[in-house]
């Protein structure tokens, strides 16, 4: 087992990385739980632009009096609302203004200074409500200008109070969950690349396999969730095993070049993907898992299913990590990744290891597909759509390094979600790919890759 000694230093690094990642994730998931009871989960997941249609400032000088005036217009959509009371108080002064038939209201105040304007919610007509029900009081400073406008937007309660930090935190949690799902599949790609040198372009279809299988058993056939899970995982593992036995092992025997194998995986991806389309149709379906409900902690509200997905991913990733570092087969796998010829010379059955790797990759990727399908719905090309994110994750972490794939996946997951704060959401996958290209420019061997010549 001399082939393993160079890997020993990396074992320590792996432990460190694993520990750091797990601690970070657990801290994020548990720490804000305590605060959850106090906060109301009013925010929706996506940051919604507050559309400024609720009110409109009156023309300058709407207050007819020569003195100081506080006023505004209250509208519900485009309709002015009549008969709404607004109480203006301050420094011993108190008066109520009522909107007219054009929705305008104004309250003359005696002098410049601080006032407080409060919308009387009870006087609002049936069906209308302030857009931000918790905040119907405005601090008004009447200074040099004679008329001060106060806005009370009406309409659906939306996210006008979400602070930038809440948004960032929400996106971060979603990014981590997404990253963990990616990691399960990315480790499969990374192991296959490490042991066989093949960039598997059909890997996305293994992901779709898990999602479609689970959808078939639970939603279409109505099986018990646990049974469906076990059968889907077994079939996924068998799918990976079959790909190796039927397709890739004979090609290794024939001595087919790596580039040819790469193109074969592209052909396989096309065949399998269109078979899915042929049998399942082109729509996006939701899996009826029977697990419903939301969990909220701090400003974040996520579905229970997502939380379970994240938990399952963490447990499985830890198990894979232990498998690779502690078991004989795991060590042999890393030895084959390191140098297949040397591993064979030291008595490792390389073909057997590759077979195990394909089976394991099928299992992990199928699980990732199940969780992803629960998270975002099932469609025939879901795996193909995130295949490039998987490649980006694997390349980011360093081609062939399983733990690099984990780190790369988390980076990609968080980067795609965080980027939606600044740029339109339909560009978020582009961000992940730009991150990939930038990293290749700066550090071609990837974040955890060994510092070797890759040119």
């Amino acid at each position: 087992m001399n082939a393993l000694t160079p890997a020993r230093s990396s074992v320590h690094r792996l432990h460190l990385v694993l520990a750091a990642v797990i601690i970070a994730v657990l801290a994020l998931l548990t720490a804000p739980m305590a605060a959850s009871a106090a906060t109301e989960p009013t925010e929706s997941a996506a940051p919604v632009e507050p559309a400024p249609v609720g009110t409109e400032a009156p023309d300058a000088g709407a207050g007819a009096d020569a003195g100081f005036t506080i006023g505004g217009i209250i509208r519900d959509g485009q309709e002015p609302v009549e008969g709404v009371d607004i109480l203006v108080e301050g420094d011993g002064f108190s008066e109520t203004g009522t909107t007219g038939d054009d929705g305008r209201w104004s309250v003359p105040v005696p002098a410049a200074g601080q006032y407080e304007a409060t919308l009387d919610v009870d006087t609002l007509p049936e069906g209308a409500s302030p857009r931000d029900p918790d905040n119907v009081t405005r601090q008004v400073t009447v200074g040099t200008t004679s008329t001060v406008n106060v806005l009370f937007p009406l309409g659906e309660a939306t996210t006008s109070t979400v602070s930038i930090w809440d948004t960032i935190f929400t996106r971060l949690v979603y990014g981590l969950i997404f990253g963990l799902l990616l990691a399960l599949a990315a480790i499969g790609i990374s192991l296959i690349f490490g042991t066989t040198g093949v960039n598997n372009f059909a890997h996305g279809e293994m992901l779709t396999f898990g999602a479609l299988g689970f959808y078939l058993f639970t939603t279409l056939l109505g099986w018990n969730v646990i049974l469906a899970l076990i059968v889907t995982l077994a079939l996924s593992a068998a799918f990976g095993y079959l790909q190796d036995t039927v397709l890739f092992k004979p090609m290794r025997r024939r001595g087919v070049g790596l580039t040819q194998v790469l193109i074969v995986t592209i052909g396989l991806s096309i065949v399998v993907r269109y078979l899915y389309l042929f049998f399942f149709g082109g729509g996006t379906n939701n899996i009826a898992s029977g697990i419903t409900g939301n969990v909220s902690f701090g400003p974040v509200t996520i579905t229970l299913v997502s939380l379970i997905s994240a938990g399952v991913s963490i447990v499985i990733l830890v198990l894979v990590g232990l498998f690779l570092t502690r078991t004989r087969i795991g060590k042999a796998t890393r030895a084959v990744s390191d140098n297949a010829a040397l591993a064979a010379a030291s008595g490792i059955n390389v073909d057997r290891i590759i077979r195990i790797v394909w089976t394991l990759a099928g299992l992990l990727t199928g699980l990732s597909g199940i969780l992803y399908g629960l998270f975002r719905g099932v469609s025939w090309d879901l795996g193909f759509l995130i295949l490039l994110l998987l490649f980006a994750a694997v390349t980011l972490g360093g081609l062939g390094s399983a733990f690099g794939a984990l780190v790369g996946s988390l980076i990609i997951g968080v980067a795609t979600e965080l980027s939606t704060i600044i740029i339109p959401p339909d560009l978020r996958y582009a961000v992940a790919l730009i991150v990939l290209i930038v990293v290749l420019l700066v550090r071609p061997q990837g974040v955890l890759g060994r510092r070797e010549r890759v040119g």
Binding site: R254, G257, G267, D426, L441
Partner: protein, 326 residues
């Protein structure tokens, strides 16, 4: 089952503008992969760059067609530089991943909602070909014979498209027997050997990437001339279809990309026609209209796998000049 129509439709694909576009894109890919050993999986990106760089100046700034062609070429050169600078020093599979990623970035960017004013968002663009058609020297009427009968405007696109294909083929022929071509082929065989002869491998690879990329961009222009510009057409599937066409014919051959593109489209049309014909006579009544189209792509994938394993040099290829050793 109307064999006459099926065969006539299939034969019509032989010289259709789409076939010309695929042939041109495949010639570009042949320069990349066949002659230089560059694994470019982003040919759809080059085609998209060409298409948008042609259409946007015409629609937004009213540029004449000639200038718009030039814009497509310049844009693809810039794109090739952006792709090449980070990756051409790295291992070949890095170029594969970066090119496929860059092509997807292009597609995401042109179909984003925020750029709808310029790129038309996910709806795409149309109307950029009026100026091109106004240059049409052929008077109205029907041209050609049999399955190859075109209206004046179709004929104009066909002529321009296949002229570009012929020019590209001649250019590749001349380049590959020049000293430049020998160096590039040497890089494909053994990069280190060429480097030890004092050649700047990086620069040669970049030149090859640009040359093939420009051909891809022009293919993108030909592709959109007779129809509207739809960003959804420029996914990775397009790249893989061009690869299939190239490998069918043979990667490092002159006529391989052209014949490959022709076979690709004729077979696609034939299988589609036959499946629909069988449905009409009730032999395949369990298949819906959409599924008939999907079977064709299943066949494409199978053909791709089979030729790569059993005849990697393609129809015309020389087994000695295999470029799969990258």
């Amino acid at each position: 089952m109307d064999w006459g129509t099926i065969l006539s439709n299939a034969a019509g694909e032989l010289f259709s503008p789409v076939t010309a576009a695929y042939a041109l894109a495949a010639i570009g890919l042949s320069v990349h992969f066949g002659y230089s050993g560059l694994l470019n999986f982003g040919q759809a990106g080059f085609m998209a760059i060409g298409a948008y760089a042609f259409a946007i100046p015409v629609l937004s700034f009213g540029w004449p067609t000639g200038l718009a062609f030039l814009a497509a070429i310049v844009a693809s050169i810039v794109f090739a530089f952006i792709l090449g600078i980070p990756t051409l020093r790295l291992r070949a599979d890095y170029l594969a991943i970066v090119t496929i990623a860059a092509a997807e970035i292009v597609r995401y960017v042109v179909s984003t909602v925020g750029l709808t004013d310029v790129t038309g968002g996910s709806q795409g663009l149309n109307g950029y070909n009026r100026d091109f058609y106004s240059l049409n020297p052929f008077p109205d009427g029907r041209y050609g014979f049999g399955p190859w009968t075109y209206s004046a405007n179709e004929f104009w696109v066909v002529i321009v498209g296949w002229t570009l294909v012929i020019i590209a083929t001649v250019l590749v022929f001349l380049l590959m027997r020049s000293p430049w071509g020998r160096v590039v082929k040497g890089i494909r065989e053994d990069e280190d050997a060429v480097r030890s002869l004092g050649k700047n491998v990086y620069s040669y690879k970049m030149q090859a990437l640009i040359l093939g990329g420009v051909m891809g961009a022009l293919a993108g222009v030909i592709f959109i001339l007779p129809r509207s510009l739809q960003p959804a057409n420029y996914g990775t599937a397009l790249t893989f279809f061009v690869w299939t066409a190239l490998l069918l014919g043979g990667a490092a051959t002159l006529l391989g990309p052209i014949v490959g593109a022709m076979i690709f489209w004729v077979v696609l049309s034939l299988t589609g026609g036959i499946i629909n014909g069988l449905r009409d006579i009730g032999a395949l009544s369990f298949i819906t209209d959409g599924q008939a189209g999907q079977i064709r792509f299943i066949i494409v994938g199978l053909v791709l796998m089979i030729i790569v394993v059993f005849r990697p040099q393609g129809i015309f290829g020389n087994k000695k000049e295999l470029s799969f050793s990258v």
